[in-house]
């Protein structure tokens, strides 16, 4: 699910965005109120178009024009450049956490008014993205987990901790994500060995985490950028352990493949996207209604069931059964990536990381 979405997100991008912009206006004229919403192209956009947006229009009378946005920072660049010209290719967009921070630096996001978003009180604190001065830049849209996955034929017992990556018995058996900014392994190392991600506050702490992480290298068979490559090897047992998306692994297991996803006792890695409003948008009123609608527990539950994302609201307020909740999340406190580092130290981290795995 996330797999395909990310791959397609990258592939589709601007072309689809352009096509949908050309195709939609005729439908929009029928409605009085409308809102342009940017969603990752591919799987996410398809799911939202099918399961979420029609219901929203029915409930509020606001027509949604969904825009396929590319992943990475391409969409942020487009929004920023358009905003400088007073244009908003989308009013509300789903943005990654690092993109949120970069947008904050140019005041790209219109501060949101929580008085108009009553359901925001349901949100978990970490899903409210704030400017340094406390204004609200974005509200959690969806989240997903990266967990410790294993092939059940090779590992009869599920591992319980991320320390399995460091176990010499697992030499040449791991598949890990290849980039510092999408594997979040520094955070995993800090949480597992140094008491928490705060250990990464200083350069000294980061270097210590890099040193510890270097011990994993002999165990790694594959550093992957392409999810399909690892997923196939995990299913066949060729590479029987690694980090991967919790929801996709669950689906593969449900299809009968010998794989399992485990939330280690240190927690799974929780990544997420925010709804953010471009400062060039004239549709602030509609945007607040939309974000409020999306924060409803019932909508978050629908997203969990239909799209496979983890709810951004507190578990108690949703009507998800234990089984449904376990399929997308866990009660274990997650490892939340240190997105700030990927903004302030991105080049240094990238250089160190590349030297670590290539050298």
């Amino acid at each position: 699910m996330i797999t395909t979405s990310i791959k397609r997100r990258t592939l589709l991008g601007a072309g689809l965005a352009g096509a949908s912009m050309l195709a939609m206006p005729s439908i929009l004229r029928a409605q009085d109120k409308s809102l342009k919403v940017g969603v990752y192209g591919g799987y996410f956009k398809d799911s939202f178009d099918k399961n979420i947006f029609p219901e929203f229009t029915k409930a509020t009378g606001i027509a949604v024009e969904s825009i396929a946005e590319p992943t990475g920072e391409a969409w942020l660049v487009q929004l920023e450049q358009a905003a400088r010209a007073g244009q908003a290719p989308a009013d509300v967009s789903m943005m990654s956490q690092v993109a949120m921070l970069k947008g904050q630096s140019t005041d790209l996001w219109t501060p949101l008014d929580t008085a108009k978003i009553k359901n925001a009180s349901n949100l978990l604190d970490r899903f409210v993205n704030k400017y340094p001065d406390g204004r609200i830049a974005g509200i959690g849209a969806v989240s997903w987990y990266i967990t410790l996955v294993t092939n059940t034929d090779v590992y009869k017992e599920a591992p319980t901790s991320w320390t399995a990556f460091w176990d010499p018995a697992n030499a040449d058996k791991l598949g890990l994500l290849a980039l510092v900014s999408n594997s979040f392994l520094l955070e995993v190392t800090a949480k597992t060995f140094f008491g928490g991600t705060n250990a990464l506050d200083t350069e000294e702490g980061l270097l210590k985490a890099f040193d510890k992480l270097a011990e994993v290298k002999p165990n790694v068979r594959l550093w992957y950028r392409d999810e399909a490559q690892f997923e196939q090897s995990l299913k066949s047992g060729e590479i029987p352990m690694g980090q991967y998306y919790h929801d996709v692994t669950g689906l593969a297991a449900a299809d009968g493949h010998p794989v399992r996803s485990t939330f280690p006792k240190e927690g799974g890695i929780q990544d997420s996207g925010c709804w953010a409003l471009s400062r060039a948008s004239q549709k602030s009123e509609e945007a607040h209604i939309f974000i409020d609608y999306m924060c409803q527990p019932s909508i978050q539950a629908t997203l969990s069931r239909k799209v496979g994302t983890s709810p951004t609201v507190k578990r108690e307020v949703t009507d998800l059964t234990d089984k449904e909740f376990a399929a997308v999340s866990s009660d274990i406190e997650p490892i939340v990536p240190r997105y700030d580092l990927y903004q302030t130290k991105s080049d240094w981290l990238n250089q160190k990381w590349t030297e670590l795995i290539v050298g």
Binding site: G72, D226, E238, Q343
Partner: protein, 284 residues
């Protein structure tokens, strides 16, 4: 056919279209890339137009030097392997019946229709422990236990040679077809064995073609960035892989552009050296 230099403006017209295409699709983008390579990177943001050497300075390190060196070495080895395999193969192919030639050429052309992704995944399956060729060796009793042959340098090399082989054959084929058969016949009449005739007559006669083919395969292999990722370990990643990382994942366009410009310059330099060496050799 008449062959005289173009005289009126009209004679130059057919040239305009390719020249315009070359300008629009090569000169302009390459110029943009050179410009961007001097821009100032804004960490946590994008880049601003400027004229700084930071991006080149960052590249000039032992680490990137090592990666560049590996990329060049890999491309050279791929080029040599391809030509060593393809030259005798193509030579024998040109001596075969027309029908057989057509079948072989169609088969080789069909490899060209495969994308790098498919080639990479196919070889990673063939080299895997669970479903790979070593299982056949185990079944035949040659090997004790199936083992994974990927990721490794050998796997990367195999994949890249496989991908470049059809190009090599197609470039060598016309030259070998045109090769005068009386040359080898003369050598044979004078008592040379077929092998000796091949090395003392065919290979020297084709020296320019071979050099051109080596350069072509070298440049083709230098751009490869998917196969090293699919079949190799991180130490087998080429400079192209790191350029992609910077451009797509770090949105560090200035640095990516600087690396790309550097790669192009080194490549052009090597090609120029090869051509000059070839000319000197001819003059001697």
């Amino acid at each position: 056919m008449r062959r005289e230099p173009p005289q009126s403006l009209g004679d130059y017209l057919p040239l305009l279209f390719p020249a315009a295409m070359l300008t629009i699709f090569f000169v302009v983008p390459f110029g943009t890339m050179i410009a961007v390579s001097f821009f100032q990177r804004q960490q946590g943001g994008f880049y601003t137009p400027a004229f700084v050497f930071d991006n080149y300075a960052r590249f000039l390190s032992v680490f990137f030097g090592g990666v560049l060196g590996f990329s060049l070495m890999l491309a050279i080895i791929v080029a040599i392997c391809c030509v060593v395999l393809a030259l005798p193969f193509t030579y024998m192919l040109t001596r075969m019946a027309r029908k057989v030639q057509v079948v072989w050429l169609v088969a080789l052309l069909s490899i060209l229709s495969l994308s790098e992704v498919i080639i990479g995944f196919a070889w990673s399956t063939l080299f895997s422990r669970t479903a790979g060729i070593t299982n056949i060796l185990v079944a035949l009793g040659i090997m004790e236990q199936a083992k994974a042959l990927t990721p490794s340098f050998g796997a990367v090399l195999t994949g890249m040679v496989y991908q470049a082989f059809p190009y090599t054959v197609l470039v060598l084929f016309p030259a070998l077809v045109r090769l005068d058969p009386t040359l080898t016949e003369a050598a044979r009449t004078l008592g040379a064995s077929p092998l000796r005739a091949f090395f003392t007559v065919v290979v020297p006669a084709l020296r320019n073609t071979i050099t051109a083919t080596l350069i072509m395969v070298f440049i083709f292999a230098l751009g490869s960035y998917l196969l090293p990722q699919l079949l190799g370990r991180p130490q087998h990643w080429t400079l192209s892989v790191l350029i992609t990382d910077q451009a797509i994942y770090q949105s560090n366009m200035p640095f990516a552009a600087a690396m790309a410009v550097f790669l192009v310059l080194v490549t052009l330099g090597l090609v120029a050296l090869t051509v000059i060496a070839g000319r000197k050799g001819e003059a001697a």
